[in-house]
């Protein structure tokens, strides 16, 4: 489904790569956890799948297609087959839950007849059939994430990318979200989830891929968050940087995190950055729309 063939991604010439000689394959229908510290290359990996950025060397295949051979005007078609879920939900604050899901269909030209059938189905699937008319700020964090998942899945993509989808949620709510992702996975969609959520990874017992400094340091079937694998950095088996000579890590020289990439490479259009900036709180404006997930709701606090 997704294959990285000796992929290296360097954001700035002379810097150490965010991904280095990556060979990785996710099979159709697989559920994969991506773990690793911030800056380990998880986000870069997702960007490459969306063709939001192109590899410096190597080839990325999605659904059997070599992404470097996809023309720029065909990129929207590629993205229609990939759903994306974020940590901070990124729902449109002025649209209701129903309208948020409807939006994703309407903007790709889905006929209204189909939209009227699909959106209620989606709301039912994520368990919000009676809350379709609520605005995002009238929903709890978990409910907002369900709407976001419904939006990502309504077009029945064959791949779902989730970037720390449970990062803003309490454990019980997070479990509900994981169940939902598993359900989507059982319907045949390949799910790739980047996470720091130890509980989630340990409970699900799915494939775990750990990245560190742009390298795969661990790839276990039915794995756990921490591991006895000798290369695992997050398990504390290896100190950061032990495996490599000092100063070669992506996070030491390359962008500390994804936010900085636009600065480092202004010529490269970056969809994820743009989405992030679009939803970033505008601190100058006290009357701005609340950004989903910016504040914990009372329900989350409980």
């Amino acid at each position: 489904m997704i294959r990285f063939d000796n992929v290296t991604k360097t954001y700035l010439r002379g810097q150490s790569p965010a991904l280095a000689n990556l060979d990785l394959e996710f099979a159709r229908g697989e559920f994969v956890f991506l773990v690793g510290a911030s800056g380990s290359g998880k986000s870069t990996l997702m960007r490459l799948v969306l063709k939001e950025t192109v590899p410096t060397t190597g080839t990325v295949y999605v659904a059997g297609k070599d992404l470097s051979r996809i023309q720029s005007w065909r990129i929207p078609t590629l993205r229609r087959d990939i759903g994306m879920v974020f940590q901070d939900f990124r729902l449109l604050p002025s649209k209701t839950a129903y309208q948020n899901i409807e939006f994703a269909l309407a903007v790709i030209g889905t006929p209204r007849r189909v939209v009227r059938k699909l959106v209620p189905e989606m709301l039912e699937m994520v368990g919000l059939e009676d809350k379709g008319r609520r605005l995002p700020h009238e929903l709890s964090g978990g409910e907002q994430q369900r709407v976001a998942i419904a939006r990502a899945y309504v077009n029945r993509p064959s791949i779902l990318l989730a970037d720390e989808p449970t990062g803003n949620l309490d454990p019980a709510t997070a479990q509900g979200i994981l169940d939902l992702l598993e359900q989507i996975n059982e319907r045949g969609t390949t799910v790739v989830m980047a996470t720091h959520d130890r509980t989630a990874v340990d409970r699900m017992r799915k494939r775990v891929v750990e990245l560190s400094g742009g390298h795969v340091v661990r790839d276990e079937q039915a794995g756990t968050y921490a591991s006895v694998a000798p290369g695992s950095v997050i398990s504390g088996n290896l100190e950061d940087g032990d495996a490599l000579e000092p100063g070669s890590h992506a996070w030491e020289q390359a962008p500390a995190d994804v936010e900085d990439e636009a600065l480092f490479d202004p010529t490269e259009g970056d969809l994820l950055d743009e989405v992030e900036q679009a939803f970033a709180p505008d601190d100058d404006d006290p009357f701005r729309d609340p950004v989903p997930g910016e504040y914990l709701t009372e329900e989350d606090a409980r």
Binding site: S72, W73, I75, P76, T77, L78, R79, R80, D81, I82, M84, R90, L92, P93, F103, A104, A106, V107, I108, G109, T110, P111, R112, R151, A152, N155, G269, L271, E274, V275, Q277, A278, F279
Partner: protein, 305 residues
């Protein structure tokens, strides 16, 4: 494409930027009014010139018993003098200039005179003998009328040589200058309109950055993302063009038809409200094209693909 979705996006976009949109509409309207006025004036000039060309551009009046010019000291023009003018008009010297000419006899002149002043008491006091013989000359090239005028001016028996085109030249000149002025102003205003459209689109993009981000993420095509913005500009441009057409109608109806044509005569003033049937579509297309073009430029700058 979902027409209703796009329509509602355009409306929301226009409504959110209502102040900017109003200024775009006003500036476009004013600039296109100047463009339309310029078009009308140019049409008037062309009509006037063709009328003058069609009619005899040079009129030559022979002396009548009442003429006071120095060349008429001998009283009414003699037959010999009239014949010499005829000969000259058909002669070799003037043939490069003269296309055709017609001669108006004293009887014909009297008939026209009586018709013009019908009902006035003094008309009956005149007889054919009081009237001048006249020649109405159509030139090959109306720009070269002076050669003919100079040829006849000052001849014995020739009272007056009038050049219609040169008589109207100042008027045509004024119209031409005014056209330049109007088009100049129109260009200046159109620059402002284009910049305003660009700014409005930029604000509109900023207002909808979340929607745009999600659209790109879920795979909306570039055309789909851009169309609402481009049409938003086009709607403002077209509205401006329609207002310009209305302003021109008011001007043509009250100023041109109601006053100018009454004063100068409809034979001379040929433009009017009817001309808006071809001017208005030009303005609408111009407004839409300009707005869409500046939208595309600003979208390329502010909207990543």
């Amino acid at each position: 494409m979902r027409a209703r979705y796009i329509a509602s996006e355009i409306f929301t976009g226009l409504w959110r930027n209502i102040a900017m949109v109003i200024s775009v509409v006003i500036v476009t309207a004013v600039s296109l009014t100047f463009v339309g006025a310029g078009l009308m004036m140019q049409k008037q000039i062309m009509d006037m010139k063709s009328t003058l060309v069609r009619e005899s551009q040079v009129t030559l009046f022979m002396c009548s018993p009442h003429s006071t010019a120095a060349t008429c000291a001998g009283g009414a023009a003699t037959d010999a003098q009239i014949q010499s003018v005829r000969d000259a008009l058909e002669g070799e010297v003037l043939s490069p200039y003269v296309s055709t000419y017609s001669e108006r006899s004293q009887d014909e002149a009297l008939a026209i005179y009586q018709e013009q002043f019908a009902g006035q008491g003094f008309v009956t006091d005149f007889t054919a003998a009081d009237m001048p013989v006249s020649f109405h000359i159509t030139l090959r090239d109306s720009e070269r009328s002076s050669a003919v005028v100079e040829f006849f001016q000052g001849r014995d028996g020739v009272d007056e040589v009038t050049d219609l085109l040169s008589a109207f030249a100042p008027f045509i000149d004024v119209l031409n200058q005014t056209t330049f002025f109007a088009i100049g102003l129109a260009l200046l205003m159109l620059v402002a309109a284009v910049l305003l459209v660009a700014t409005t689109i930029r604000m509109s993009v900023a207002n909808r950055r979340r929607e745009i981000a999600i659209m790109r993420l879920v795979g909306a095509s570039n055309i789909f993302i851009r169309t609402p913005f481009m049409l938003e500009g086009a709607v403002a441009g077209i509205l401006g063009a329609l207002i310009a057409s209305a302003l021109l109608w008011v001007g043509a109806n009250y100023l041109v038809e109601g006053w100018l044509a009454q004063t100068l005569g409809t034979r001379l003033i040929t433009v009017g409200t009817a001309d808006l049937w071809w001017i208005a579509p030009i303005l609408v297309v111009l407004g839409a094209v300009l707005a869409i073009a500046s939208s595309i430029v600003s979208l390329n700058r502010y909207l990543k693909v």
